[in-house]
């Protein structure tokens, strides 16, 4: 810490400088079919420098934290800024931000640093046992529990000094069912930014039972059909829609590239039932922090307010370019990466329908549950996988089918939203945009229409 501060002072002539220190301690348990894989713990520690000189950024990182190394890292970053400048067409200006000297720590009741590891092992083994014992068709399972404990320091030549400690606990269950030559898998996760108390509130066991039940139920089920249908998207999937299909289009770097939302500020882009936000301060959110990796305070940013596009997600650089305020969305995965515009916790605000009420007006459609991976192009064309499609006939839930990938244009899908449920939640997610990062995503179940890429 002192080393970083001294280096920053000594190298103050290089340009605007940011130094970040990051120590990530992890502990993970993985149980496969009742056997512990190997308990795994470790530390990855390093620092990086980002320097802005004459409108050009340079970046370098190091795992060696000695004074000479930090200084040479800063010089490397400065020399990259200088050498790459002639190749850059756009020069960077930063929106001004008040320097902050502050601390943040995840609100915790049970600090994982004091955890009884044997207790945690027991918890995972119990879940594994329940999953395998759920039904005869479950032939295999994997249960994992992870604790990721980040210490972050941000220093800037403008005088910021921010310490943050962010603790995330999360787990997952995969269950595989086999019957009569059929095979299928189901997956469910739990977690939050929290101490270990999150495992009391939303136990790993619940995820295990959801996965086991789903795999057992779907092993002999058929694949859902292809076609355009009215659907209810489960709250856990709505997060994928909010994040993948809409949120990315509001990231100012993609807006700059001409994303769907580029010319839509103040315009109607969704049904008035839809209010969509990216919230940097959502309690226990997987993407919650008080400051981003440029030292900007985070906030709750409203992207779509009752159907109207209001704000984009900014770094200091894009905020200056768009003449907007920085929203605290510049995030880096670790010290090996420079911050880029990322979402934090993205969700659609709750409405007041129950699931039964959402189904009521659907004559022939599906209730889609259990998200798989997704992707979207910046024109709003998206896809993501679903695990289960429960048929809705004349307003009533009927049999379960295997889920398929769904697709559409996010903004058409959002225009077709005519009812939003009250079963609001924000869940854990991982987003890969050049570098991965932890994000929260969520919302409440909602009703719309879209295309199922199913069977004939």
């Amino acid at each position: 810490m002192d080393v970083l501060k001294e280096s920053l002072q000594k190298k103050s002539k290089l340009g605007y400088a940011e130094l970040r220190y990051h120590k990530r301690q992890t502990f993970s348990i993985s149980v496969k079919d009742g056997k512990i894989d190997a308990l795994n713990s470790g530390t990855v520690e390093g620092a990086c420098a980002r320097i802005l000189k004459d409108g050009s950024w340079g970046f370098a990182s190091s795992t060696v934290l000695e004074k000479e190394k930090i200084e040479s890292m800063m010089e490397n970053a400065a020399s990259l800024a200088k050498s790459s400048k002639p190749k850059k067409e756009r020069l960077v200006n930063l929106a001004s931000v008040k320097p902050h000297v502050d601390k943040y720590e995840t609100v915790m009741k049970k600090d994982p640093r004091k955890a009884d590891k044997e207790e945690l092992v027991k918890l995972v083994l119990e879940t594994d046992k329940a999953v395998r014992g759920f039904s005869k068709t479950i032939v295999s399972d994997t249960v994992t529990l992870n604790i990721v404990d980040d210490d972050l320091i941000f220093l800037s030549s403008e005088g910021s000094e921010i310490h943050q400690r962010v603790v995330r606990c999360f787990g997952s269950v995969t269950a595989i069912a086999r019957e009569k030559g059929n095979i299928t898998s189901a997956y469910e996760s739990v977690g939050a930014q929290s101490g270990l108390e999150i495992l009391d509130k939303t136990p790993l066991m619940n995820a295990g039972l959801i996965a086991a039940e789903r795999a057992s139920k779907l092993v002999t089920a058929k694949v859902a059909p292809a076609g355009y249908f009215p659907v209810i998207l489960e709250n856990r999937i709505v997060g994928l829609l909010a994040h993948e299909a809409v949120g990315h289009c509001a990231e100012a770097d993609l807006v700059f590239g001409g994303s769907f939302l580029a010319d839509k500020i103040g315009k109607k882009v969704a049904s008035e039932k839809v209010t969509l936000v990216d919230d940097g301060r959502y309690p226990n959110g997987f993407g919650t922090m008080n400051y981003d990796d440029e030292g900007v305070p985070t906030e709750k940013t409203v992207i779509i307010d009752e159907g109207v596009c209001r704000n984009f997600l900014h770094s200091r650089e894009t905020a200056q370019h768009f003449n907007a305020r920085p929203t605290g969305n510049a995030r880096a995965w670790n010290f090996e990466f420079d911050p880029i515009i990322r979402m934090r916790n993205t969700y659609i605000e709750a409405g007041d329908y129950t699931l039964e009420e959402l189904a009521e007006d659907i004559k022939e459609g599906f209730f889609l549950k259990g998200g798989l991976s997704g992707q979207a192009d910046f024109n709003g064309e998206f896809m993501f996988g679903t695990q289960e499609a429960i048929r809705i006939t004349n307003g009533k839930f009927a049999d379960s089918m295997r889920g398929v990938t769904i697709s559409g244009n996010a903004f058409e899908v959002l225009k077709n939203v005519d009812a939003v449920g009250k079963d609001f939640l924000v869940r854990v997610g991982l987003c890969g945009k050049e570098q991965i990062n932890y994000v929260g995503m969520g919302g409440a179940s909602l009703r719309t229409k879209l295309l199922l890429g199913g069977a004939k």
Binding site: T26, K32, K35, I36, A38, L39, N40, S41, G42, T43, V44, E45, G46, W57, G58, F59, A60, S61, S62, T63, V64, N76, L80, S83, S84, K87, K88, K117, E118, V121, L125, V139, S140, I176, R178, I183, T184, S185, A226, G227, D253, F256, G257, F337, Q375, D377, E381, M383, F384, G385, R402, V404, T405, S407, E434, L451, G453, G454, A455, K456
Partner: protein
């Protein structure tokens, strides 16, 4: 590097481990990121550290550290042992691999030009790809891309006498382009390539192909839904067809009842001309090396021979469980991870027809150049958006199609292969794959 590994193994034995293994990795990356049609960033990255696996009374512990010093290694050794102590025994544990004679380092896996890549040289390389795409046609716009030159050093030591170290290099890159004309924007075209030597890496080919693909999807029309023939280019073919294959021949999945092919060695599962080998010693192979992530010799393993399943892929754990030899498929992406099983270079043997000849055999169908969807590796179900698609009729590409959904089952599709192409390309799932023509795929119009 090997001295750090040896130090860790000795220390763990001293602390009371029955067996110990240390994996040291040092990866140096020079990377250029393109974003919003311009050079966004250039970075030098170091990813290095040690992962230590210990076994005591059949209980396993693992710890890693990013800092390679005597103190941090000793601390990690202690952590690994204390984790083993709180774990429960795995009755199926046999032992870490034993020392074997290693094959020679495969030809062409280390190129000093990549190992010593400078920032400015890398930047020039990227600019060649960039200029090629930009000047190829005025309608082409580059969206983003990333190019990386990577030097990887790996050293492994264990208490059974395994001691190995090797250096490999890789250069890879991708570019995403769209084409714009009269208010129409094509779907995003993606082109990737990778090589172990600088000489054989062509950034201009990436730029040109990405541009060509973007242009090919302009003037798109729609078609009605039908079930029929699809030409899959190497990228979509590897994800849709061969990712489920890799999953199903992974011995860990086989032993745990997760593979549809468990207990079915010798049975026919695919088109009779489909032959797949996993070749960890392939000259200039992207993932070639003389030993795997546990220090076990790499080898060439036939997986599917003329449509017939012949072997599964093992690491030492799954092999020991069956009292057989590992196939050298232990894999760890990073020193922070325990070894799992992965293909080294999964090579789908080439057929005889060029892509044009394959297209000429299609009476009615589509060609898919990019796939964005989900593939369930266990059951083989796939569904998603086919991007960069063109409609084929009477052996000719008629016009581009608006993004279309496709769905089907990979295991069924392996039997429905009509033709395997002659041009093999490295893809992002550790496989070398030619284009493949399959029948019976659901093509779902978005209209």
């Amino acid at each position: 590097m090997i001295e750090f590994a040896d130090l860790a193994v000795k220390k763990c034995r001293k602390l009371g481990a029955d067996e110990a293994e240390a994996f040291v990795q040092n990866q140096q990356t020079v990377e250029v990121v393109l974003e919003r049609a311009e050079i966004q960033n250039e970075r030098f990255k170091t990813h290095s550290g040690i992962g230590i696996r210990v076994i005591r009374d059949k209980k396993l512990g693992f710890a890693f550290a990013s800092h390679l010093s005597k103190e941090s290694i000793e601390e990690a050794c202690k952590a690994a042992i204390s984790l083993a102590d709180v774990s429960t025994p795995n009755p199926e544990w046999v032992s870490l691999p034993v020392r074997e004679k290693l094959p020679k380092t495969p030809e062409g896996v280390f190129d000093p030009e990549i190992a010593n890549m400078s920032g400015s040289k890398m930047l020039n390389l990227v600019i060649r790809a960039y200029d090629e795409a930009k000047h190829f046609d005025k309608r082409v716009v580059i969206d983003d891309g990333k190019f990386s030159a990577i030097l990887t050093e790996m050293a492994i030591s264990n208490s059974n006498g395994v001691e190995a170290q090797e250096k490999t290099t890789r250069i890879e890159g991708y570019l995403i382009c769209v084409a714009k004309e009269h208010g129409e924007t094509s779907s995003m075209a993606y082109e990737y390539d990778a090589s172990t030597t600088l000489k054989e890496f062509s950034p201009t080919r990436i730029g040109r192909t990405a541009a060509e693909k973007a242009l090919a999807s302009l003037h798109s029309k729609t078609t009605e839904s039908f079930t029929g023939k699809v030409v899959l280019e190497p990228d979509p073919a590897s994800f849709i067809l061969f990712y489920p294959v890799i999953n199903s021949v992974n011995a860990d999945n086989v032993q745990r009842g997760r593979s549809i092919w468990a207990g079915k060695i010798g049975e026919k599962f695919a088109f009779p001309e489909l032959t797949i080998v996993d070749d960890g010693l392939m000259p200039k192979g992207i993932n070639s090396s003389s030993f795997d992530s546990e220090g076990v010799p790499r080898q060439k393993t036939p997986i599917i021979t003329q449509g017939k399943l012949v072997n599964f892929m093992h690491n030492s754990y799954t092999a020991n469980k069956e009292g057989r030899k590992s196939t050298g498929n232990a894999y760890r992406e990073s020193y922070t991870m325990l070894p799992t099983i992965a293909a080294s270079n999964l090579k789908v043997e080439a057929g005889k027809k060029t892509l044009e000849e394959m297209v000429s055999e299609v009476d009615k169908g589509i060609i898919v150049r990019r796939f964005s969807g989900n593939v369930r590796p266990d059951s083989g179900e796939f569904s998603g958006i086919a991007k960069q698609v063109s409609y084929i009729e009477n052996g000719e590409i008629k016009h581009a199609l608006k993004e279309t959904m496709i769905s089907g089952n990979a295991f069924q599709a392996l039997k429905n292969i009509i033709e395997i192409g002659s041009e093999i390309r490295p893809t992002e799932i550790r496989a070398y794959v030619p284009p493949v023509l399959v029948d019976g795929v659901n093509i779902i119009s978005k209209q």
